[in-house]
Symmetry: C2
């Protein structure tokens, strides 16, 4: 299987990784959540080439995760803003940061402290169940095929399927 | 900046991506949470080359995310099990799946349904605050430098720093 086939897999993790599964893409998104919006600012922070950055920003814009907005005319300048779909990715970014804080620290403590402005306390993210509100851990979860399930090993339908009769 | 420098960045997202930021690595982890443990099973499901799979499994084992255990002797065979640190990554995998379900569906519904066995209901993950228990959204969060913070643009200390006096 090649990477460009992954987006078609009937698995939401695979589909999501086809959009975000590049490390630069995820670092760009991290910066978006830290308030970075402009090409030169991304480039200065991340130190990747302009061509690579332009490619990744275009990918995120094409995917509907970022939106390119004009912030200056003459000459025209753009900034990149998270769309609602992009903002919805925040739990993943927060989860990546929290895992790193717990397991990859250098002994000095977290590089960034997250504060929940609503209750005005520092916090770590806790993943809970939408039904009962309790903490969800991997061992508490079972999965079953849903309506969008198809066996990825099964023969794929042709683009012009035979008549069913 | 090159990828092998990212692990040293004082950012927990960057550090985490230095371990997991490869799409195959994340697909392997998805499979681990679905109960896959053996080399041939990963290979049959993912369709990547044996060399690439061996490399990614070694990376996850070296990082302490998977543990290689003997399940048969003569000939010796190994399986790969999530360590406690690996299990701790579940919120990220669940978050990736949930985002895909919400934003990248093909109109048929979720490929996989998640059930919270504790309350016996289907659920989606909700990210909440460890202090107040309320739902956390990106706009509700502020960040500030923590004890592990260092400006990545600042000069790096030499391996043999000069005496402070």
């Amino acid at each position: 299987m090649k990477w460009d086939e992954l987006g078609a897999q009937p698995c939401s993790v695979a589909r999501t990784l086809a959009v975000f599964g590049d490390r630069w893409t995820l670092m760009i998104l991290r910066d978006c959540f830290l308030g970075v919006r402009r090409f030169d600012a991304f480039q200065a922070r991340l130190g990747l080439s302009r061509a690579l950055l332009a490619d990744r920003l275009k990918g995120l814009t094409d995917a509907g995760v970022l939106e390119r907005r004009t912030y200056q005319t003459g000459p025209e300048r753009f900034e990149y803003r998270l769309t609602p779909a992009g903002i919805d990715f925040y739990p993943v970014v927060l989860g990546l940061a929290n895992w790193g804080n717990r397991h990859l620290g250098d002994g000095r403590g977290a590089p960034l402290i997250h504060r929940h402005k609503t209750c005005d306390h520092d916090f770590v993210p806790v993943t809970t169940c939408s039904h009962c509100g309790d903490v969800v851990e991997a061992r508490d979860v079972s999965v079953r095929p849903g309506p969008g399930f198809a066996d990825p090993r099964a023969p794929q339908p042709k683009s012009a399927p035979a008549s069913p009769s």
